[in-house]
Amino acid sequence: MAVFRPGFTYRIAFAIVSVASCACSGTVGDEIRRPGNDTSPGGQGGSAGGSPQWGNAAKELPEPAAIATTRFPRLTHFEWENTVADLIGNEDRTRITSIARMLKRDAVSGFDNQNDNQSLSIDGDLRGDYERAAEAIAEWVASDATALARMVSKNGNKPGDRDTFIQQFGARAYRRPLSTDEQNDLGSLFDKGASLFGSGNAFNDGVRLMVTLALQSPLFLYRPELGQAGSRLSPHELASRLSYALTGTMPDAMLMTAAADGTLSDQATLLSQASRLLATPASRRLVEHVHHQLYALSAFDGIRKDNTVFPEFDVALPGLLQRETLAFLDGVVADGGGLSEILLSRKVWLDRRTAALYGVAGSFSDTPSENMLDSNERAGLLTRLGILATYADARNPDPIHRGVFISRAILCRTLPPPADNVTPVPTSGGTTNRERVHNHTGPGTCGASCHATIINPLGFALEEYDAMGKFRSTDNGKEVDASGTYDFGDGEQTFQNAREFSERLAGSQEAHACYASQWFSYLWGRRIDDADLAFLDAKAQQSVAGLGLVDLVAGIVGSNAFATRAP
């Protein structure tokens, strides 16, 4: 074999990497999405007790930036699964979920629907997966009489009626009416079914081939937005954008009607449709999906405890903690709450095991029931078992990672990377967990600039909860110190414990701006731009004043920019 031999070589360069030192620069906060100090022009108040503020008031708000995004956002796998279920009118989610699992996971960083950087593209593997999944769904509905009848009735109400099926099913799959050409294309494909499958039932075979095509069509897999930059989206494009943002699935019949009759072009109709959609079960599922990512609930799967310290732990527990956390977040949203309630509400859904861990007396079964936690011990999300146990090691709480979690998930702060060089804490560095961590990373140490001021105080606020999340007043025989001081961007705040800390957070505009920008990012499928900040600041102010999540979301999709095709 001919071997290539390079004609010249460079001298090898010796690159000496400086040995890791205490690299924490202390320059935190450059990228914090923090509301400005200017107090609200227009004085947007909360919606508590009154009519929603996002109606006409939305016109007074600053508008989000017109950032160019792909004209072909691809369905996420979550959306694919929901859409397939709705399109074929089938309730058997288990089966659809198992087919959806064929789809190779997307490599995205951030929310699953971030379409920037073309992350949701279709490579060879995924294309093949879509094909196999489409064939599996088509085979199923064509061979199962009940499933077929349900799908046909959902798409035309006339079993055996080729033309109606093509027209109705096609329009629902493409989420817009078909052109004559498209109708003809689908018709001739339908007619090939009989010879290509030969089941003896030409209608069934036609349906099977059409479903196979529909689920691989770019008009199904993407949500094309083809209109002129700067103009309002077409009614059907807008219906899809709205529907996927609020419900994670295709537009329902009422939304399609509003698109077809043109009324969706009117912003007031859009707002009332949004309001209607936000009350649907699909929207509830979407909110859960976003919160699941926002608070990294899948990290609960990694909870492991030392059974000699925590005999109550077993591998089933992380799943129960996930269920408890999601039930809590759902409850907050259902009650009209927003970030403040997420941080402060003591409502809880307890089963036998979580009740024991929270120390709530009473009789509980394996089915969760609504209850209230003790105001002397607990507040909202940050004082719940799941978060506390996740950011702890097998025996001790981990204030550093609890602090990092709060910095990132609640405050959206961008932290500098940890030092390259990490050294162990001497076990003799203090009596309590807090003392050991403090002595190792606090003022006067190498970690002073980041840990002492930025990270540790947040984590120390949760020191009254052990590595399992159980409440404790002493650590190693000494009284727990969960007090602290922290600057959330508007001056130093002090707190004695996690309940007070949660209240400070709930009152801080920084936390509300973070929550608003996370939701904004998901609903738009893109990252935040500086030009969005004025809009988000206004939303944050409303949120501090009590705006619930449903109204926050409606206010974001109710902006004019949301209905406009960006350049």
Partner: protein, 477 residues
């Protein structure tokens, strides 16, 4: 149907994967590219996490061989107790161990593990943490992807596999630790399930040809319409360049019949894969669980061997671990602290915590275990006959790690290559390059596997453009 351009006389027999049989991909969409040489070279990149125990700073040397120069089986065996690389002594003559390769961008603004993942196969910096912890992405293509573009059928990326806790798509630390990138900020999504990876490859393997013709006809009629729709969208006046590329990629991958293997893994192996599909101890599919890690790694390696043997792909990447590797091994009935904590020598994922006694020895054991898995892969590749020898000798089978050691040092990244790349690599040696940046290693590997630039010139500028270009000629024959 397109006529195959694949050489139908190149049958292979795969032995050593428990009696698997492999014939040809029976309908091939390979383009007649000059890069598809008669004796193709394959490459596989296995990337671990958390570094190895080596003498950087104050820790003892437990990884590299004792002296540079020729590697012999006897010499490596003599070091078996103290050096992890000795685990591979049976491949001594086919092995090239390279010390002194550094990642080019220390302190890249991300978690050090992520920073290592970003750079290790790309020689590009990362974006830094932009959206929560560990979300940094690499700013350029990875070497495996470059190889796939040059040597694989059009549109087929590297076979990208993963054995660890997370699936793709998680926020923050909840991601699988991407190392393979199709372009800046675009990771190749890794497959965590051996069964899914195998199914994607094997597909119609056992289908008889009459039925296959029918299936092909159905696919053709569906695909014709899909192509028509894609082309119509691409010609829409307002569609920009990036979106056109996006649709073009999709269009390229619409195949009338996927390349499928006629070969299959034995039923017993496939059954083992299926067992990993059920829920494991972590509440996720078993292939994500610690207990099934070794089984998952081995089955992924079976998939890689099959994929090479049947020429499904010329290049594969296997990431073991996630952003870091938090696996808790159980040894003699005792569950150890997580590997990540062991690598930091303390009972914490952060910098502080009680010391783990004997952490260095525990880590060195894990290094030996990791190279043991790598040995399994090389055994599989060495069991496959190709014209004139064994498949392993046509390979660059490379083991590396996201960081150098448990202290996140980005120097002395472990590089262990087994296989001669068809005779291009000078193997049987341990060399110390003394601090060369990894872009030059990848230039060298690209050269060894036969990737060329325009007009047949060698690739000398892979990676970040500010880095010194060139290959490391001392590694090449």
């Amino acid at each position: 149907m397109k006529k195959s351009t694949f050489q139908s006389n190149r049958r292979r027999v795969l032995r050593g994967i428990g009696g698997a049989t492999v014939g040809l991909p029976w309908l091939e969409a390979f383009s007649a590219s000059s890069a598809r040489a008669a004796n193709p070279v394959y490459s596989v990149f296995v990337v671990g996490c958390n570094g190895v125990v080596q003498n950087l700073g104050s820790e003892p040397e437990r990884f590299w061989p004792g002296t540079t120069g020729t590697l012999t089986r006897a010499g490596m065996l003599a070091e078996e107790a103290g050096r992890a690389t000795a685990t591979l002594s049976r491949f001594a003559e086919r092995t090239l161990i390279v010390r002194g390769v550094n990642l080019p961008f220390p302190g890249g603004g991300a978690c050090a593990h992520t920073s290592g993942d970003n750079q290790c196969l790309t020689a590009q910096p990362g974006t830094g943490d932009t959206d929560g912890a560990a979300s940094s992405l690499a700013k350029g293509e990875s070497v495996d992807n470059r190889i796939a573009t040059a040597l694989n059928p059009v549109g087929r990326g590297p076979l990208t596999l993963h054995a660890g806790f997370n699936d793709g798509g998680g926020k923050g630390y909840g991601n699988p630790g991407y190392v393979s990138y199709k372009a800046a900020l675009q990771p190749n999504s890794p497959e965590s399930s051996p069964f899914a990876a195998y199914t994607r490859m094997a597909g119609l393997g056992s289908t008889d040809s009459v039925l296959a013709q029918k299936i092909a006809a159905r696919k053709l009629s569906v695909n014709d319409l899909v192509r028509k729709q894609l082309r119509a969208l691409m010609t829409e006046a307002r569609v920009g360049t990036d979106d056109k590329k996006r649709l073009e990629q999709h269009l390229q991958n619409v195949r009338d019949l996927e390349i499928k293997l006629t070969g299959e893994l034995p039923v017993a192996t496939v059954d083992r894969m299926k067992k990993l599909e059920v829920q494991g101890s972590a509440g996720r599919a078993a292939y994500h669980s610690d207990e099934d890690r070794e089984e998952t790694v081995r089955l992924h390696m079976d998939v890689i061997a099959l994929a090479f043997a049947s020429d499904y792909t010329r290049v594969a990447t296997l990431k073991i671990g996630d952003n870091n590797d938090g696996i808790k091994y159980t040894v003699n009935g005792t569950t150890l602290p997580s590997f990540h904590m062991i690598s930091h020598r303390v009972l914490s994922d952060g910098g502080s915590g009680p010391p783990i006694p004997n952490a260095i020895e525990l880590h060195a054991d894990i290094d030996r275990r990791a190279l043991g898995y790598f040995g399994y892969l090389n055994d599989r590749l060495a069991a496959i006959d190709v014209p004139g020898g064994k498949l392993l000798d046509q390979c660059v089978s490379l083991w590396t790690n996201q960081v150098g050691n448990g202290n996140h040092d980005l120097r002395n990244i472990p590089i262990v290559i087994v296989g001669r790349a068809g005779g291009s690599l000078k193997t049987g040696r341990f060399v110390d390059l003394g601090g060369v940046k990894n872009n030059r290693l990848w230039n060298t590997v690209l050269t060894a596997v036969g990737v060329r630039g325009t007009e047949g010139a060698p690739i000398e500028n892979f990676g970040d453009p500010t880095l010194q270009p060139g290959v490391i000629s001392d590694l090449l024959l």
